[in-house]
């Protein structure tokens, strides 16, 4: 199995390099919204002194960390897999003795992510030069706490996206369903605004949803803003959602493949 992943990595990594120009364009597009949130919130915080205890520097560091965390926990499988179902090119992968989504697509997504993070470094440094964040509250301990949360967030997100992508077996409108999923992330993962500044009700809902692991929780862990209790709670909800996401994915995937082979692969 290790050898399969190693070879998959070599192939997918080489493939991603072929599309590096494409990738830079994607990255620039992706950067726009967090940078706008960063700029808007910092200017508000600067003029008012703080927003509910969030200072301008809190916002700057929040969004600077978000740029990295979001890049790590997000995925593009709807784009790299959805069309394979629709145009039938999945056939070739289905008759290989490995799971198409949990091997090839997973590795392809990670290769994409890794290359993106490489391009992000210079951009991130330039932004840091402009916004001058003060990272003094960031500790090594916080980062170590956040790493498993990021991995957990990535896999939950991957499996949920995978379940939605599998809907392409039934409908061609799968992209719009996925857009709705993005909208949920925007609100409940704390991209639009850090969750702490949301109404109490939204915060309560967010605590029961998986999305806060995609951005808010790891960011706050790195910033050293969470109590041990909150961290444990976050991990606990995350583990439950990992099981839920895996179940959802397996269910839609199996039903989908059966349907695929019924209507004509």
């Amino acid at each position: 199995m290790f050898l399969i992943f190693k070879r998959l990595w070599q192939v997918n990594w080489a493939e991603q390099w072929q599309y590096r120009a494409n990738l830079v364009m994607y990255l620039l597009y992706w950067l726009v919204s967090p940078i706008i949130y960063l700029a808007v919130w910092t200017s508000i915080a600067t003029s008012k002194g703080d927003v509910n205890g969030f200072t301008a520097n809190d916002f700057v560091t929040y969004y600077m960390i978000l740029l990295i965390v979001d890049q790590m926990t997000s995925n593009i499988i709807i784009h790299i897999f959805g069309y394979k179902i629709q145009d039938g090119s999945l056939s070739g992968e289905l008759i290989k003795p490995i799971h198409p989504m949990l091997t090839n697509t997973l590795v392809n997504d990670i290769a994409f992510k890794t290359l993106n993070l490489m391009w992000l470094v210079p951009i991130w440094l330039a932004l840091a030069f402009v916004f001058k964040p003060d990272f003094s509250s960031v500790t090594l301990g916080g980062i170590l706490f956040a790493l498993p949360a990021i991995v957990l967030g990535y896999f939950i997100n991957f499996l949920l996206s995978g379940a939605i992508t599998s809907l392409a077996f039934w409908t061609t409108r799968v992209f719009s369903i996925h857009e709705f999923y993005y909208a949920l992330i925007l609100v409940f993962a704390g991209q639009f605004v850090p969750l702490k500044l949301m109404p109490e009700l939204v915060q309560t809902i967010a605590r029961f949803l998986p999305f806060q692991l995609f951005m808010y929780l790891p960011i706050q862990m790195i910033q050293g803003k969470l109590s041990t209790n909150e961290i444990m709670q976050g991990y606990f909800t995350g583990m439950i959602w990992l099981v839920v996401a895996l179940t959802l994915f397996t269910f839609t995937w199996r039903r989908g493949v059966r349907r695929f082979s019924a209507v004509g692969a």
């Binding site: 998959l8 192939v11 290989k96 082979s261």
Partner: protein, 325 residues
């Protein structure tokens, strides 16, 4: 020993959505879709022994590819059963997938952007081929197909024939016991076709693999298969030796003529005119093989002929004709 492939009453009916054009039909279709049943394969029975090379023939839309896809596990049948190497194909058991291969002209196992060598190594890992065995198999495939010069180039830069060679070889790295080949020589020139054919014959001899192949080229089938199975409109029409088939169907030849000057001649007096899209300039007529000499000399005498050729009719026409008679 039980046969390698057994197919019993295998059937596949597709439900194809159907609606008329226009706005109101579109709205109606949104709420209630109408479906039409298309019977692609109907109660087909056959069995194939280990080591046999069988040609699977039929006109377009006869159900060849559907049958092949069911045997490879890609399609669930709507009725009947199939057993290949002791497995039910559509359960997609990894052990089954590791012991067969499906090569379909357009579906590629090779990644477009990177050299074939990388895809080969990936397949070595996926099919768990030990290094020693991989090297041995690769060497054999290289001897037969001369792969080495193609391995380092990105697949997108290979010619169609080169790519087809790489596609077939990558599907054989794991030494499958059963090969399903859908049009393995499609789009290749004569030398390319001959080379693939020769290779398949050699592979069959060396490994004792069972091969079921579809092809549009009569030459593929006559060169490789002692036995052919013909299906037409989803039903099995013939299963037997290739020699018996030509005896059963009166053998035909195609005469192609290029006329000098005007085109006003009525050629249907010599035989049945045939459409040939590949060569629109020439006019083709189909005649019984035993009449070829007489008809040709008559035509040469009576028509202003610039060019004339005699060839085998495409297999589709032979079959179409055989079952329409």
């Amino acid at each position: 020993m039980s046969p390698t492939i057994t197919v019993q009453n295998l059937s596949k009916t597709y439900q194809v959505p159907e609606r008329e054009g226009g706005f109101s039909a579109a709205v109606k279709g949104f709420f209630k879709r109408k479906y039409k049943d298309v019977k692609a394969v109907q109660e087909v029975n056959f069995s194939i022994e280990q080591g046999e090379v069988v040609g699977f023939l039929g006109p377009n839309g006869a159900g060849k590819t559907t049958t092949l896809k069911m045997l490879a596990g890609l399609l669930h049948p709507t009725g009947g059963s199939a057993n290949v190497l002791g497995f039910t194909p559509w359960e997609l058991k990894p052990e089954y997938l590791r012991s067969m291969t499906l090569v379909m002209g357009q579906r590629n196992r090779l990644s477009w952007d990177i050299p074939a060598a990388d895809s080969y190594l990936l397949n070595q890992a996926i099919y768990r081929i030990p290094d020693e065995e991989y090297k041995k198999t690769y060497k054999e495939l290289d001897e037969l197909l001369e792969l080495e010069p193609l391995m380092k180039k990105p697949v997108r830069n290979l010619s169609l024939g080169e790519r087809m060679k790489c596609e077939i070889a990558v599907g054989l790295l794991h030494r499958p016991k059963v090969l399903f080949l859908d049009e393995p020589t499609i789009g290749l020139d004569i030398t390319g076709q001959a080379r693939i054919r020769e290779f398949l014959r050699e592979y069959n001899k060396r490994t004792g693999a069972t091969i079921l192949l579809t092809s549009h080229y009569m030459a593929d089938v006559t060169a490789l298969c002692e036995r052919i199975i013909i299906i037409h409109h989803g039903q099995l029409k013939y299963d037997g030796g290739i020699g018996d088939l030509s005896r059963r169907i009166a053998p035909f030849k195609l005469i192609g003529v290029l006329l000098a000057g005007s085109n006003g001649h009525n050629l249907s007096v010599y035989g049945e005119p045939i459409q040939n899209e590949e060569d629109a300039e020439k006019v083709y007529i189909q005649v019984k093989a035993e009449d070829v000499t007489t008809v040709t000399s008559r035509m040469l005498a009576e028509l202003p002929i610039a060019d004339i050729s005699i060839s085998d009719p495409p297999i589709e026409n032979v079959i179409e004709r055989a079952f329409n008679e």
